[in-house]
């Protein structure tokens, strides 16, 4: 074999490094190098000057659900708590490229949640009314208006589930999911945060009800505070802290088509038909459906998912039959009973949680980072995330967002 020689390299600034040496102690350890963990690290360092932070990631950077979601951003939720929370996130998203000096390709496309039944129409009205009351741009629209917003939709009444109306949310957007995580990682790294990929956490050191250290495959670390932000594995990691979460982990699948010239402007969601679809900046249709029918820790994809999704997609867009599916994949969704996340304090002192992100995690990335950073830095639970505390389940005080989940689960 020939001897290796290195290729000529021009070396621009690294955005981040994933493989430095682990220190023996950090003020804050964040378990999970996805969007949420990286955003939290970034705001900790940027807004609060907390820079002695290590983000520990089991695999590659942002390779979990950050890499697998379908990138939809919206704030048309059902509860006042949910609406306020996601609206702050949406606003942060809109200014993110400039704030982080990294174009996350944020693209306002408008978001239509189609209603095919009287019940869905009622829920759409409910959401529209709550949104409007709280200053979020949403309205209930009917087929004549839908035809203007998305003329490609099959609005014929002569189908099995005719479109009766829709919740229209003009600020609904998509963004480049990976870029969001990278932008946060780059800024966090520049501020002194250490990012350690391929560094799996295997245990926690808890003394007198207080977390004091983290065990990893690369050695043990002492720490002041710990945040877990590991969507898809939340129950498993929380278990290390002795915390049982009200979470069922269910595979959620998605797929993309080959790229074609843009023909679909808005994001289209149909709860009754279990479809959501948007066209990405590359021209691919990005599509998803309901979560799988049963809990499972697996990211294998299924044929049945595609078959059902495509059958329903053709109901909405009969003309895409010749388009081809290029790739399918699955992520794991930590579903809570009320379809709202879990954020904040835990029974373990200095151990903070960011979990229960089901199918709505990506759109919360900025607000989650910002508010969890506030919590970790100040010790005060921000009002905005107080309703989502873990303890609510002990009191059975839920934040019911089932009606506003992307697709009826």
């Amino acid at each position: 074999m020939l001897k290796k020689s290195s290729l000529p390299l021009s070396l621009p600034a690294r955005h981040f490094s994933g493989q430095g040496r682990l220190k023996s102690r950090y003020d804050v350890v964040i378990i999970g190098g996805g969007g949420h963990g990286l955003a939290t690290a970034c705001y900790l360092a940027g807004d609060y000057g907390v820079t002695d932070v290590a983000v520990l990631e089991k695999g590659y950077l942002a390779g979990g659900n950050t890499a697998r979601n379908t990138t939809i951003i919206r704030s048309n939720y059902l509860t006042p708590e949910g609406v306020a929370f996601y609206e702050e996130s949406r606003k942060l998203f809109a200014g993110l490229s400039n704030k982080l000096d990294f174009n996350v390709l944020y693209s306002e496309r408008g978001h239509l949640t189609l209603a095919h039944t009287d019940a869905a129409l009622r829920t759409a009205r409910w959401r529209a009314e709550v949104n409007k009351h709280l200053g979020v741009d949403s309205e209930l629209v009917f087929p004549d208006e839908i035809a203007k917003l998305c003329p490609q939709l099959n609005l014929s009444p002569d189908v099995r589930y005719p479109i009766l109306g829709a919740l229209y949310h003009p600020p609904g957007a998509i963004a480049r999911h990976d870029a969001v995580a990278w932008a946060y990682a780059r800024r966090a790294a520049a501020l002194g945060v250490e990012i350690h990929t391929q560094t799996e956490v295997t245990g926690l050191k808890i003394e007198n009800g207080k977390v004091t250290g983290v065990k990893t495959r690369r050695g043990d670390i002492a720490c002041g505070k710990v945040l877990q932000a590991v969507a898809g594995m939340s129950s498993e990691v929380a278990r290390m802290a002795g915390i049982k979460l009200p979470v069922k982990t269910i595979p959620l699948q998605a797929c993309v088509s080959e790229p074609v010239k843009p023909f679909l402007d808005p994001i289209i969601v149909s709860g009754s038909l279990h479809v959501y679809v948007s066209q990405s900046a590359r021209g691919e249709l990005v599509m998803g459906a309901a979560a799988d029918p049963y809990p499972l820790y697996s990211t294998r994809s299924t044929l049945e998912f595609k078959e059902e999704l495509m059958m329903h997609l053709l109901e909405l867009f009969p003309f895409v039959g010749g388009l081809k599916i290029l790739r399918q994949w699955a992520g794991m969704a930590d579903m809570t009973p009320d379809f709202s996340p879990v954020m904040g304090l835990t029974p373990v002192e200095n151990y903070y949680i960011d979990a229960g992100w089901g199918t709505w995690g990506f759109k919360a990335t900025p607000v989650c980072g910002k508010r969890l950073a506030e919590l970790i830095a100040t010790g005060e639970v921000p009002e905005l995330i107080k309703p989502f505390e873990l303890a609510r389940f002990h009191r059975f005080q839920q934040v019911g967002e089932r009606g506003a989940a992307a697709v009826g689960h």
Binding site: K4, L7, P262, F319, G321, W329
Partner: protein, 982 residues
């Protein structure tokens, strides 16, 4: 005759007796039956088939096997068609994709010239400054996206799907696959052989393998002859296996159909993909894989070029050279990357044709013709070190460069099933890690790193033997090589063990770049290096940042070289490293084939046609169709009120067949009911019914209905129309834990049911039954009877959702229509009136009964909707009890109340908000105008301090207007409940 068409001894897949005419990019061309679009164009001397995704560079044939993104074209409404696979049709109109202007003169080419200003990750670094700039740039960039076009007017045909079963599925009909299929079939297994080509034989159809091509042809025929007529073998030809899912569930596209196949064991004999070398301008039309040139010659009778150079790192390149020379292409030189001169029969044969051989050399750069539309020649130099040339290049003129520098296993399907590919530095190739193979999966042939023809056939036979064993067909003898006895000479014809046919570093960077690693995405060496340098050093991150391997070919030609370049740039060892995850499908799947025939079932009750005869307006309720009301659309509201009044004052009949129905039987039936529902059922007397309310673990209401105790160990339970599936599934799931001795049967479709309601209902029933006494004394409110109605065996329930005297009558579905007819006929003199769901909703609203799902949401607990009475306080357990107990101690946050509106008030809509001050208190869940009460009435959630009867609260209309509502006592109608207990 086409300019580049070879004599009839070539082109085994053509039918030259049938010339076909088609159009491409506005011009007319002639090919013949069996030609692909690409082969026909090549025969006509057309080399440019597409423009690249990013830089709009001209591209031509690369693999000639549909495995790259270079030949994507548009046919009518169908975008992204692989021109090197799709056969031409007479009159077919093919257009180029992703061009601004024409294929020949594409203004998008400007992007190539400016490409050095478009580095990897370019989008992430630009366009967003100053604030607001992105709003301008985004639509501009969006217009550049995508390849082909969608025709929004198209309406695709719907096709069926097919289900197949096999003991052994063999994927790939090349030498290894044929041997495997034969061996497994001989062992007695039912074999399905899936092959993507028109003819079995794989590389035996086009590759040289050795100097005497006739022997290759004969070997193919012998192997095929063994398999094709074998009674245990079924062949799926023209079939692309696209996915390998759990439990050997295979998806295959077979012409116009999705075939789904379950196999006990699977042999993957999927072969390998020839890999390109990476050097400047390696993407020019005229630069192609050696195997592509051989396919053009042998399958399609096309001379791939007039003057060729062959770049090789293995013996296969000599086969290519020999094929070219014999086909009339001038081959001046074979550039062999290997340092030492090789002495084999093939090399000798090539030398014998007067071809110069240059060992230890490399093609360093390809020289373009005008507009990059063709190849003018290649720059050749001696290799000084890995990836480095001596610096004394010489130019050789040619219009064709064939590359044979290595292979990568076509292991995508294996990876779907869980296998892992790992880079082997010694052999300079990716290999399937055998330990990661899925259950009952076997591999054979070149996907298994067996490249020698003889060895591949033996490997196939072994795999077939193993697979048959896994499927339960253990052959008594160890596997003999198939056909060994019949064709010993042929199996000895090869030269034995070979060096691995892969060069470890066919990658030569150029100061001016344009050495393409990924053709789909126009990515050059520096793009990969820069990704790594910027910190995106994991292969997954290189992919996501640079988009390498993300294009239509999903990395078939780029994953291997990307791995080499990226790991070197990251200064990491490549040995043992895997490429990025391979995900289904293996080959792009048309959406319409996945969708198949639309299956959107609709359920109709036994009385459906009677409703239509009565001019019912049907409405959807879950899968069911139900009458909303019996009225012409313009009189809808008026008729609904009349239907409701008929029930109040006379008698009405409603089809309630859509209710969910369950039979719960067994010694533990009452205990089971007690756990599933909130009420108490152990002491429920036989022949009595009781309300049922189901909550989930959080105490939230999920369904309601009625439970009839038919016997000590037998309950007949109804659920809501939409709730049955959830309730039934939930019951099965819970009892899987509880193991109570109970049988749960969903009998929804076994029974048709009606509700005969109104003061005169008893009169009608009286005249239709002999064995049930419908009087108050004989059949009191909430009692259950079995008997006959109009001689039809029936279960009768005295229940009162409408608040009037009424009987729910359940009969076998087959008798539903007869029951309806009998009741309507006897009721005629009493002016019985059928009523629909809308009238029923009004009637129940007047009675203050909730509809689960409309008046409840995912969090509603019984206390909030005045159903505390339906909770048996003394029971030790029911699902949701703990939550309800906890919540009971906390005081209610909100409550559902009845309300009335002033008669001149504007009418709110259902799910308008209720307010307390400016805070959201809740929402209106039901609202209607009641003719009986001559008032607008409704149900709404308000905060628990807003519930005092007579107090008022605000409703916010959709237009923002506020309306006063007054809290009313429930029920609105007949508060004493006297009418239903008549």
């Amino acid at each position: 005759m086409n300019a580049m068409r070879l004599a009839e001894t070539y082109g085994a897949w053509l039918d030259r007796s049938q010339p076909l005419t088609f159009r491409f990019d506005g011009r007319e061309y002639t090919g013949c039956k069996g030609d692909t679009i690409a082969s026909a164009l090549m025969a006509n001397g057309v080399k440019v088939i597409s423009r690249s995704f990013k830089y709009h560079r001209p591209r031509g044939v690369l693999s000639m096997a549909g495995q790259d993104g270079n030949t994507l074209v548009q046919i009518g409404a169908e975008p992204n068609v692989r021109a090197d696979l799709r056969l031409i049709d007479d009159g077919m109109i093919v257009t180029a994709q992703n061009v601004f202007g024409s294929l020949e003169n594409d203004y998008g080419r400007i992007l190539d010239i400016f490409s050095r200003f478009l580095p990897v990750g370019f989008y992430y670094k630009t366009f967003y400054k100053p604030r607001g700039a992105w709003k301008f740039w985004e639509p501009v960039i969006r217009r550049m996206a995508g390849l082909g076009k969608i025709d929004v007017q198209a309406s695709p045909e719907r096709t069926d799907k097919q289900y197949r079963f096999a003991d052994v599925a063999v994927i790939g009909g090349g030498p290894a696959g044929l041997a495997a299929a034969f061996q497994a079939a001989e062992a007695g297994a039912d074999v399905i052989l899936i092959d993507e080509n028109r003819r079995l034989g794989g590389s035996l159809n086009y590759a040289r393998h050795q100097p005497d091509y006739e022997q290759v042809v004969a070997l193919r025929e012998t192997l095929v002859r063994q398999v094709q007529p074998h009674p245990n073998v079924s062949i799926l030809g023209n079939a692309t296996c696209t996915g390998w899912f759990d439990d050997n569930w295979l998806a295959a596209l077979v012409e116009n159909r999705l075939v789904k196949l379950r196999a006990k064991s699977v042999v993957a004999a999927t072969g390998s993909f020839e890999q390109p070398a990476v050097f400047r301008n390696n993407d020019l039309p005229g630069v192609m894989l050696g195997s592509a040139a051989q396919r053009l010659i042998r399958l399609y009778g096309v001379k791939p070029g007039r003057k060729a150079v062959v770049l090789t790192a293995n013996d296969d390149g000599y086969g290519v050279a020999l094929d070219l020379v014999e086909a009339g292409t001038q081959v001046d030189v074979v550039v062999d990357m290997r340092a030492d001169e090789i002495r084999t029969e093939l090399v000798a044969a090539v030398k014998g044709k007067g071809v110069r051989i240059l060992p230890g050399h490399m093609v360093y750069e390809a020289g373009p013709g005008a507009g990059l539309r063709s190849l003018k020649g290649v720059y050749i130099d001696a290799i000084a070190d890995q990836g480095k040339i001596a610096g004394r290049p010489s130019f050789i003129e040619c219009d064709l460069l064939c590359m044979s520098v290595g292979y990568t296993p076509a292991a995508q399907l294996l990876c779907h099933a869980g296998a892992r590919l790992e880079y082997d530095e010694t052999d300079a190739m990716l290999k399937v890690n055998e330990e990661t193979l899925g259950e009952n999966a076997v591999i054979a042939g070149s996907v298994n790193a067996v490249f020698d023809l003889d060895a591949a056939i033996k490997d196939g036979a072994r795999a077939g033997h193993v697979a048959a064993g896994l499927a339960g067909y253990a052959a008594s003898d160890p596997a003999p090589a198939p056909g060994k006895a019949k064709m010993p000479d042929m199996l000895e014809m090869n030269t034995g063990e070979r060096e691995p046919p892969h060069h470890p570093w066919p990658i030569f960077s150029h100061p001016k770049g344009k050495e393409f690693v990924d053709f789909d995405e126009d990515l050059q060496i520096k793009d990969i290096q820069q990704s790594v340098a910027e910190g995106y050093d994991d292969l997954e991150l290189v992919k996501r940042y640079s988009t390498v391997v993300m294009g239509p070919s999903q990395g078939r030609q780029s994953a291997l070289n990307n791995l080499r370049i990226a790991t070197q740039a990251a200064k990491r060892p490549s040995h043992g490293l895997s490429i990025t995850t391979q995900r289904p499908p293996f080959y792009p799947e048309p959406i319409r084939l996945l969708a198949g025939q639309s299956f959107q079932p609709m359920r109709r009750t036994a009385m459906h046609h009677r409703h239509l005869e009565l001019d019912a307006q049907m409405t959807s309720a879950g899968h069911w169709q139900r009458p909303a009301c019996y009225a012409p659309p313009e009189k809808r509201r008026q008729f609904i009120e009349q239907e409701a009044l008929a029930v109040r004052n006379n008698v009405g009949l409603i089809d309630v067949s859509t209710l969910g129905k369950l039979e719960i039987r067994g010694p533990d039936a009452a205990e089971f009911m007690n756990r599933m529902y909130t009420f108490a059922y152990t002491k429920q007397p036989v022949s009595r019914s009781r309300y049922v309310l189901m909550t989930d673990e959080t105490g939230a209401i999920i369904d309601d209905g009625v439970a009839c105790r038919m016997g000590p160990e037998h309950f007949y339970v109804t659920t809501t129309t939409g709730g049955i599936d959830t309730v039934y599934r939930s019951m099965l799931r819970w009892n899987a834990q509880w193991r109570l001795n109970v049988d749960i049967a969903n009998v929804t479709s076994a029974f048709a049911a009606v509700n005969l309601a109104g003061p005169k209902s008893r009169e009608i029933l009286q005249s239709l039954t002999d064995d049930v006494d419908p009087s108050q004394a004989g059949f009191a409110y909430m009692e259950v009877r079995t008997g006959h109605v109009a001689t039809i065996p029936a279960r009768l329930l005295r229940v009162g959702f409408t608040g009037e005297l009424g009987y729910e009558i359940h009969v076998p579905s087959s008798q539903g229509e007869a029951l309806w007819d009998a009741l309507m006929s006897v009721g005629k003199t009493l002016e019985i009136r059928p009523f629909g769901v809308e009238a029923q909703r009004l009637l129940r609203l007047e009675k203050g009964h909730i509809i689960v799902g409309q008046d409840t949401d995912g969090l509603t607990i019984p206390q909030e909707v005045n159903l505390t009475w339906a909770i048996a306080g003394k029971k030790p357990f029911f699902i949701g009890k703990r939550a309800i107990d906890v919540l009971s101690t906390q005081g209610l946050y909100r409550q559902l109340v009845g309300f009335t509106l002033a008669n001149d008030a504007p009418m709110p809509e259902e799910y308008n908000l209720t307010l307390q001050g400016e805070e959201i208190a809740g929402r209106v869940t039901s609202i209607a105008y009641s003719r009986s009460l001559e008032q607008s009435i409704g149900l709404a959630y308000v905060l628990s301090d807003q519930t005092a009867a007579g107090s008022t609260f605000k409703i916010k209309l959709s237009n923002g207007q506020r309306v006063d509502a007054q809290v009313a006592q429930l029920p609105f109608y007949d508060p004493e409940g006297q009418r239903q207990e008549l």
